[in-house]
Amino acid sequence: MSLAASVTQPFAAQWSGEKRVLIIVPAYNEAGSLSFLLHSLQSACPGCDVVVIDDGSTDKTRVVAKGLARVVSLPCNLGIGGAVQTGLQIALEEGYQFAVQVDGDGQHPPGEVAKLLAAQCESGCDLVLGTRFRSAGGFKSTATRRLGIRLFSLILSAVCRTRITDPTSGFRVLSRRAIRLLAHRYSEDFPEVEALVQVHRAGLQLLEVPVQMAERVAGKSSIGAVKSVLYMLKVPLAIFMSLLRRHEVGLME
């Protein structure tokens, strides 16, 4: 489908029926930002199904989300990896063509989902990644984080042989093939960067699209000082290990 067609066709008609889209919202104690996010998702992405993965929250996340979207509650906190993977398992099981990850903290504007989906359809790539660093304006994270992201950007661009400026971004669209791959195996902690390597190693195509991001509406980031250090150690190791492993494809039917 061309970009022109995807713009002219009404959004709801486009993303229902054959091309079913599941928007996965992982949320851990995000009661403060979920209501606004889910309302904007409803108006910005009609025709898409939304599932909130409540990752064992201890606040009112489930109650807040319940009236606005389908809520799947994990009995204990599994971390972002386990939560997103649960969403991917639902997408796989229920035959969705596309899965969109939109983080529960409100950093990913629902208005940009259409742009990612259109890029996905036009390019036919299996993973379309929203980057905050290729457009002017929007929230660009803190200076130290940008440094880390820059490092991973260099590694990932070399490994995947395509320009990737924002590998830690969780704002992404997955095709059916990528859903199948990642629903089966998804890293438990700090999974974003690793998933890109997984997808590339499975022979699937990646594409990066500029989007605007916002600062989180409420709540706090799960990654503090100690975790940041762990992040910088774990992710390169995981990338290195997955490069050493032989191709773990075999999941493409």
């Binding site: 994990l74 009995p75 398992q89 639902i90």
Partner: protein, 123 residues
């Protein structure tokens, strides 16, 4: 018998053996690990009664001037292997509990949807 503190080693080994047996009896350790630990305590038992004369030779062979150091080295090496094995086991359990949690969440979701579609009010 008591030269080089063999008596003490013998006693400690017996205590370990008894402790493992006790834990198995109370079902606090599965047989899988019990066998491992009984093996270890038997090995220590044999080592304590027979091994000391060989210890000096082993130490000499590797150029360790103080024979007990050779013993410590071997024991630490063995314990390290054991800990790595435990880490592997913990990782496996972690993986299993993640899958279980996900399955529980998905089952609960489908149950709720089923109940809702039949008009049963949510609890």
């Amino acid at each position: 018998m008591t030269e080089h503190g063999q008596g003490l080693v013998f006693l400690i080994t017996l205590i370990i053996f008894a402790a493992v047996m006790g834990l198995v009896l109370k079902r606090r350790i599965t047989e899988r690990f019990a066998i491992l630990w009984m093996g270890i305590s038997l090995l220590l038992l044999l080592g304590s009664s027979l091994g000391f004369r060989y210890l000096f030779k082993i130490a000499q062979l590797f150029g360790i001037p103080y024979p007990p150091s050779a013993l410590f080295l071997l024991v630490i090496f063995g314990l390290t292997l054991l800990i790595i094995e435990l880490y592997a086991w913990v990782s496996k359990l972690n993986e299993r509990s993640r899958v279980l949690a996900q399955q529980v969440a998905l089952l609960r979701d489908s149950l709720e949807r089923e109940l809702t579609s039949r008009g049963v009010p949510p609890r």
